[in-house]
């Protein structure tokens, strides 16, 4: 019989304190007030959400703050039904990419507000192009999960 060799079970823990900076601080202050803020590029006129300090295409500072719509259109989704170590969101859930009204890029969040325990039932409800609207937590902390999810509008 082959000899079994040892393995070492270990874990690495490291602390971080990561700066939001001015633009993202303001974005999350908006979340606490149930507002989704984007910023507008003065050169290409795109509204970017979440808010950006500069336009990634034009490389100039964004010029204006714009409140994005609370509603949007689903552009891509997946039903998540597996787990991994340290997973930050409890499955099952639906990862959702949506185009919020009045913006020019897609915003990543999740869908909810209906029973999604059964995938086959869920897939009958979820369609690209469907309208979604933000559902907010009552207690908000300036966090991306202040929006509980986007539900069918």
């Amino acid at each position: 019989m082959a000899k079994e060799y040892k393995t070492l079970m270990t874990e690495i823990r490291l602390p971080y304190e990561i700066s939001y900076g001015a633009t993202w601080t303001r974005f999350f202050e908006g979340m606490a007030e149930k507002k989704i803020y984007g910023t507008k590029c003065g050169r290409c006129n795109r509204v970017l959400v979440p808010a950006r300090s500069f336009c990634p295409r034009c490389f100039v500072d964004t010029t204006d703050w714009v409140e994005a719509g609370q509603q949007g259109t689903l552009t891509a989704w997946s039903y998540v039904s597996y787990r991994y170590f340290g997973m930050p969101t409890e499955p099952p859930f639906i990862s959702a990419l949506l185009r919020l009204d009045g913006t020019d890029v897609d915003f990543l969040h999740m869908m909810g507000g209906f029973d999604m325990s059964d995938f086959e039932q869920t897939r009958k409800i979820v369609k690209n192009g469907m309208k979604l609207r933000a559902v907010w937590k009552d207690e908000r902390q300036g966090h991306i999960l202040d929006i509980k999810y986007f539900e069918p509008a």
């Binding site: 070492l8 971080y16 304190e17 990561i18 700066s19 633009t23 950006r52 300090s53």
Partner: protein, 388 residues
């Protein structure tokens, strides 16, 4: 060597505790400045190289993806180079090889670190395998202090003398940082302050050791043809060297550090330098620890082994000396690790272009930059000159 390569732009952030800014915005501060300095736009760039210290320092894996916007890398080939403390020199060498090979004409090199967001020594500990050595390494100060102790003992350097010389280095570098607008720590210290500072890892005390800095640095490397076409002044790369050693700390001699000796020799051979102390006008030696800086002087042939403390105390390596070392204040005053080695290169570029401002060494034409990385494992050297 491949075809001729010059450096035509330098951008640095104001290094320090930059908690007011997000990490991508900090990177962009250096990138905006390098484009301003070079008079170029992102459209002129063929490829981007970036780097940090060990990824776990960042709390975000693959920072070259995170900073693709800030570095204007979208639609271009992008590489990340990660060699711990020597990352900055490795970034510069990667950009150099890319242009020297003829595969790119103009490459943006960016180094960055937000040290205040993570924990440097906890991260350094993860560089070490978990079976044998991790329990004893005590972060960077631990291993580099052991190296200094071995070196001092090897050459019988009296403790008082090496302590005085290290304190002298601390005092002069801290003074120099006042003349560098981008430096982090600006503090007047006396010899007694250094000698009486809190003990960190014997023989290193608090004022013998670099700070925790946030910062980024960006350089633009270009081919001779590209530089001629746009009619820009350049700092020309005259030589590069990089050497590593065995992984286990005890497998190689730290008292005469062969990777430092050999990486400098490789660069000197390419640059045609036979007497570095005479021929070099300025050096930016990677010096997170005062004691270790002296070992590098010796490994780089600036003087014989065991001789550096005497020469330091005679002022040979200060800003008015025969070979000024770290007139920027060096790593001792500014250490955003992934950027630090590239800042060494940047400072030599500024020196040979006559653009170093208040810490300019008059008439500097040939300059050495250096960084080291890992658990006493790697050294990299780059030499730039004002003439092709």
């Amino acid at each position: 060597m491949g075809r001729a390569v010059g450096i035509i732009g330098v951008g640095q952030t104001h290094h320090g505790r930059r908690t007011e800014m997000s990490y991508p915005d900090l990177v962009r501060e250096a990138v905006v400045r390098v484009f301003d300095d070079a008079g170029l736009t992102p459209a002129d760039i063929d490829g981007v190289v970036s780097g940090t210290m060990p990824s776990m320092m960042e709390g975000i894996a693959l920072t070259h993806f995170y900073f693709a916007d800030a570095m204007q890398a979208v639609g271009k080939p992008i590489l990340k180079t990660e060699t711990c403390g020597s990352t900055g020199v490795s970034i510069a060498q990667t950009a150099y090889y890319w242009v020297a090979s003829g595969m790119a004409d103009c490459v943006l090199a960016v180094g960055h670190e937000k040290m205040n967001e993570g924990n440097a020594q906890a991260t350094m500990t993860t560089v070490v395998e978990p079976f044998y050595q991790r329990y004893f390494i005590a972060g960077a100060p631990g291993v580099f202090s052991m190296q200094s102790q071995m070196w001092a003992d090897r050459y019988g350097i009296p403790e008082d003398k090496i302590r005085d010389a290290a304190a002298y280095i601390s005092v002069t570098h801290h003074d120099s940082a006042f003349d560098n607008p981008y430096a982090h720590v600006k503090l007047r210290v006396s010899m007694d302050d250094v000698k009486n500072a809190r003990l960190i890892t014997y023989p290193v005390r608090l004022l013998d050791v670099c700070p925790t800095s946030d910062g980024a640095c960006a350089l633009i490397f270009a081919s001779e043809e590209f530089i001629r076409k746009i009619g820009k002044k350049a700092a020309w790369v005259k030589g590069v060297g990089y050497r590593g050693e065995e992984y286990f700390f005890g497998d190689s001699d730290k008292g005469v550090w062969q990777s430092a000796v050999q990486s400098a020799k490789q660069a000197y051979d390419q640059a045609g330098i036979t007497n570095p102390r005479k021929e070099l006008d300025v050096a930016e030696v990677y010096n997170p620890f005062t004691f270790q800086e002296m070992l590098f002087y010796e490994c780089f042939g600036f003087c014989g082994f065991g001789e550096s403390p005497d020469l330091v105390l005679k002022g040979i390596f200060n800003r008015k000396g025969e070979l000024p070392c770290d007139p920027s204040g060096g790593v001792l005053c500014t250490n955003p690790i992934g950027a630090t080695g590239l800042i060494r290169v940047a400072e030599t570029v500024l020196q040979v272009m006559g653009k170093a401002g208040d810490h300019q060494i008059p008439g500097a034409k040939l300059a050495l930059s250096h960084a080291m990385g890992g658990v006493d494992q790697f050294n990299g050297v780059m030499i730039v000159g004002s003439e092709l």
